[in-house]
Each structure stands twice: as C-alpha cells, then as structure tokens.
C-alpha cells in the first residue's frame, strides 16, 4: 500500500472539551471534507446527548420521561442501551443516574428539582427509540457519550475514504488504519507532566482521573468519578486507562476499573479490553492484558 502523503489535523471545541481530528490520505481537500463530516457527527452527539443544552434528548428525557414516553435520536438510544448493559454487568457500579449526585456536587448545573433516589433500573428502553422512567430520575451520559462521539467520528472518516487517522476528544481517543500511534499519558499528580507512552494500532484508549476535576465542599473533597452502588466519589490520585476496540466501551470501562481495580478483570476480558492503572507519580500500578490475539492489540511493551 502506498503511504499516505498528507496529514491534516484540526481541532474544535465540542463536548465540553477540545476535539482533535487527524486524517491521513492523498488529497488535502478531500481530507478536510472528511474531517468536516466527522466534526458534524461529534456535533450531533453534543446536540443530542448534552446535559447542558435545553433542547437535547437528555434534557427532554430528564424533564418528561417520568410522565410520558420520550422519543430520542437512534444514537442516544444506542448509548443508553450500551449504558444499561454496562450497568447490568457491573452490578450498578456504572450508572447514568448518578447525575443526581453530580448535580448536588455542582459538577452539573442544578436544573431539576424533586429528583427521586432511583437507579439505572428505573430507565426503560422501549421500541422505536423511546425512553421512559419508572422514577423521577435524571441521567447524564458524561461517562460514555464522548467515547461514542469518537467512534462516530471515526466511522465518518472511514466512510469518506480516509485510510488512517486519530480522533481525540479531550483525552478519549481512537486510532484507526494501519499506522500505529504513540499516545502519551499524563502523570496523575502532575498532569502537565507526562508519565509515558502507549503504542496503539486500530484501537481506542480512554483515560479517567480526577486531576482536573476535584472540588472541595467544606472539609470534603469530591470528584465526579463515583460508584453508582454507593454514590460515593473516588478521591484516589491514580489514573486509569483502558484500551478497547470501541472508544465508547473504553470510556465507560475506565469508570468501572477506577473503582473495582483488579476485580474488573472478568469484565475487561469480556470486552477484550486492556487496562493500565498509574500511581500518583506515574508508575504503573496494575495492568491487565486481554487475551484477544488480534493485530490491534495494545502494545505496552
């Protein structure tokens, strides 16, 4: 195969962060067109799944799904279905209804009153992309939608004929095509320093840590990474990186591994995912390699 001669890299603010898209190929103008389409896919996820936009599916569901069925975008429905599956598999640790707690801790704006103490089991997904709630819960897809947006952007680039590239939504990224990429990880205690690098080929990598997000409430420090079963936030200064074939899965699994650590092994194996925990100073604390034997394995060594 002839090596791609051009590389175009662009970035836009979206999903509350910086989304960077790199595409390699022959014609620069074609690459720009493909990147435009990929950004449009990201914008669709932002429009439909944002907790903040008043007109998004998530806002409509949060306002109305307790009273009546709400029809959502097929993409929103897909993400909700994947989230429900992960909630089931993690025994409720991953739970999109933790939005109630995140709102109390001001990670999310206080837009809803009289929210009940429900959980993911109160979300009912029905035919024709409809959603209803059994309790007056509220949901936020902040732990999974960014990864989904990366996957949709990669899909758009591939559809436009881009042979290889990278989509990085503020740290959750996916590399596609034959060219491998070096991805650097931040140090948990000093995020403006780098701890090391991982080589990825045709694979997604997501990282969760609390270094940009911890907040003090009186004497207590909270973080937005919390256990859906106990609603307690994790304050450990570690970082968790998960590699998987889909960025949505990698994104969501980081939250589970952050809490479960070694106990997340069976779930990681089920998704053919690899995980890497970094100590505060960036030293590797624990690593899991999935047994899948494909060419797209994450290379830690």
């Amino acid at each position: 195969m002839r090596p791609a001669s051009n590389r175009v890299r662009r970035a836009r603010p979206s999903l509350g962060t910086f989304v960077e898209i790199t595409a390699r190929g022959d014609s620069e103008s074609k690459l720009h067109g493909a990147i435009d389409q990929a950004f449009e896919a990201v914008a669709r996820v932002d429009r439909t799944m944002s907790f903040h936009h008043a007109g998004s599916d998530i806002s409509r569901v949060n306002c109305e799904a307790f009273q009546r069925k709400v029809t959502v975008d097929p993409w929103t429905w897909r993400v909700l279905r994947a989230a429900q599956k992960l909630s089931h598999e993690s025994d409720g640790l991953f739970d999109v209804t933790v939005a109630r707690k995140l709102m109390q801790w001001k990670y999310l704006p206080r837009r809803y009153q009289n929210v009940s103490e429900g959980n993911w089991r109160d979300i009912v997904l029905e035919k024709n992309c409809t959603v209803r709630f059994r309790q007056r819960v509220i949901i936020d897809l902040g732990g999974i939608a960014k990864g989904f947006a990366v996957d949709r952007a990669v899909e758009a680039l591939k559809r436009a004929g881009v042979p290889s590239g990278v989509v990085n939504a503020g740290g959750d990224l996916r590399v596609f095509g034959l060219k491998s990429e070096l991805v650097h990880l931040r140090r948990p205690d000093e995020p403006m320093q780098l701890a090391g690098a991982i080589k990825l080929c045709d694979r997604a990598l997501a990282t969760s840590a609390i270094y940009f997000a911890q907040r003090r409430f009186g004497r207590v420090v909270e973080s937005p990474l919390l256990d859906g079963r106990t609603c307690r936030s994790s304050r450990k200064s570690i970082s968790v990186s998960v590699a998987a074939s889909a960025c949505m899965i990698a994104d969501a699994l980081t939250k589970i591994v952050f809490i479960l650590r070694e106990k997340s092994r069976p779930l990681l194996a089920r998704y053919h995912a690899d995980a890497l925990l970094l100590e505060r100073d960036g030293a590797p604390l624990w690593m899991f390699r999935s047994s899948c034997d494909t060419r797209d394995r994450t290379r830690f060594d």
Partner: protein, 179 residues
C-alpha cells in the same frame, strides 16, 4: 507558531511562551478562512481597536472580562457581497494562550469555530524509570523531541470553558462593533 499581534494584547499577557511546551498548529489564518467561507474570494481586514466605551459594552453584554485591546476581524466577501465575518480571538487554556477563529454569518450567528493554535506547557521528559522498563517510548537516555514526539495525549478531560466564554465575548463584540 503564529504571531499574535501585540496591539490587541493587554500588557499583562506575555506573548513569549515558556519552554518546554506542547504546541499544535492546526490551521493558519488563511487556511481557516478558506475552510469557513469556501465560497468567498476576498477577505477584507476590518480590525477594530477598542475604545473604553466598546470594552464597557462588550463586558456588560457578555459578562466576560475584555482583556484584549482590539480584535482581528475580516469581512468575508463573495463578488463584493458580504457573506460573513471571520474573527480571530485568544484565550488562556490550561496555562498558555489558545488562538482560535470564529466564523459568523452577516446576522451574527456562529457558523463555525476552528482552533488555530493550541499550547500547553509540559515537563520535557519521561522521568519515571519503571515506566521505561515496562513500556514503549523512546530509549532510556533520549528525551522526547518536543512537538514531534508528543502527538496524542490521553488523560482526564480538559475543559474548553475558556473558549466557550470567548465565543460569548465575540458575539458581544459583533453586537457592539459590527452590527
């Protein structure tokens, strides 16, 4: 790295970037102009130097502090007809300045936003010896070639809030100076 014109910057912001740093130049001003307004054949500079009254009005409308002394603005023209405005703005990211461009329709709605230059300051090398033993990277003695070695960073999400605030300020600038 693109040149940030001094006349728009407040005295407090230094243009010099402390090294070591991570910098990505995504688009030049002219490349971004063509992407935002592919139909346009001419970009006419219409840069604005703010008066104290401008600054007061922009701050009141946007709720944002206006630190810049001026704004780089181009009128995007197609066969002599105004198709929109192309505006370059600067905000502080995590520590360093981010340059970005906003394309507005003639009516002042946001058509497109593109980051032009992104910068972060970084420690210059992987210091952890354990990591070197276990993971790929550069050889044990080599430093990374900055700006070449670091192409992708995975980590907790970095907020783009300052850009979002900057866009509110740009819209107030449109109301004040362009409408």
């Amino acid at each position: 790295m693109s040149h940030i014109p001094r006349w728009i910057l407040p005295a407090a912001i230094s243009v010099t970037v402390p090294l070591p740093s991570y910098a990505q130049q995504y688009l030049t001003v002219s490349a971004a102009q063509k992407l935002c307004f592919p139909e346009c054949d001419q970009f006419v500079p219409a840069h604005v130097k703010f008066t104290p009254a401008h600054i007061k009005a922009i701050e009141a409308k946007s709720g944002q502090k206006q630190l810049l002394r001026g704004q780089e603005i181009w009128r995007a023209m197609q066969n002599g007809k105004l198709r929109g405005f192309f505006i370059v703005d600067y905000v502080i990211g995590k520590h360093l300045v981010i340059d970005y461009a906003v394309a507005l329709s003639p009516e002042g709605t946001v058509k497109q936003i593109e980051i032009l230059n992104y910068r972060e300051s970084y420690g210059g090398e992987i210091r952890n010896p354990d990591w070197r033993k276990q993971f790929v990277g550069k050889g044990p003695r080599s430093r990374f070639a900055l700006n070449e070695g670091i192409n992708n960073i995975s980590g907790a999400t970095l907020s783009c809030r300052h850009v979002t605030e900057g866009i509110h300020r740009i819209l107030a600038t449109y109301e004040t100076c362009l409408k």
